[in-house]
Symmetry: C2
Subunit: 167 residues, 2 copies
């Protein structure tokens, strides 16, 4: 049973766990993949609740999300699925089927066609409303050096939160 | 007395009040201005706590923040300062001194030179680490129509949260 909730109500625990890892799941209708994210933001923009995720150009997930209309973020608030978070952050969906490899169960999203990861506690389902590749020239020098030594920048995907809910 | 806090701890109440209004204060060393914001986001990006604010190109605040290195966000969690939020959202700092007009008291930031607005409950002090003007072509059509009928797009300013605290 899921309990739908205002996005602001779960923002604190989602942001806290996000720093330890959450699953970003994307699908372009043909291919579905999930990857571990540790960065993102939650806010209110354009009169809408918005969740922002970031995907580097080099990622298999980027191949998919660049053709997608939506994404889901599944958050293991209880600290479970650590091994899966580890694998899904290090391996590429180009090489393995992460769902099979990690025995990750999925289920249908409530508002989107992209699945959510079962056994997570909080889920955020989004429609992509804005996307923009980063411009490294406008980034603080220390961050550019720390996070983008190979110039493999992120594309920022802003999703309108259609559903936010906890188990 | 202020109590410093983890940014995630106050994210829920900050995001809730933000939708009703908060003060974005900027200074370029010579000029200081504040404006009402209703949009923004809080997150963890580039290994740092990040608060994102948006300022339209046409704004007096944009003249200042485009030359600034930091900003502060002051949030009246108790619903006070409604008249000031109203004036600071409608009038331009080009025409009036908003601090004088609204009898807004300010005080020094703890980590930045830009002041904070007294009589607010929560304060977020940021160093600007990334800025990027919006590309209307990558925005969902309904939002483009709703929010940018005059093409007066926002510039997104991402601030590293140096201090987040509540009274």
């Amino acid at each position: 049973m899921y309990k739908e909730t205002d996005f602001t109500k779960i923002s604190a625990e989602v942001l806290e766990q996000l720093q330890k890892g959450a699953f970003l799941t994307v699908s372009d209708g043909e291919r579905t993949n999930t990857m571990t994210i540790g960065w993102g933001s939650v806010g209110f923009v354009w009169k809408k609740p918005i969740f922002m995720v970031m995907v580097r150009y080099s990622r298999y997930t980027h191949e998919i999300i660049s053709k997608a209309k939506e994404f889901t973020v599944s958050v293991p608030l209880g600290g479970q699925l650590k091994d899966a978070l580890n694998v899904c952050g290090k391996k590429s969906g180009r090489d393995i089927d992460k769902f099979k490899e990690c025995s990750l169960k999925t289920e249908k999203g409530l508002a989107v066609d992209t699945p959510i990861i079962s056994d997570c506690d909080a889920h955020i389902e989004c429609r992509i409303v804005y996307r923009q590749g980063m411009d490294g020239n406008s980034l603080a020098g220390d961050i550019n050096k720390n996070c983008y030594s190979t110039k493999d920048y992120h594309v920022l995907y802003y999703g309108e939160i259609l559903k936010a809910y906890k188990k």
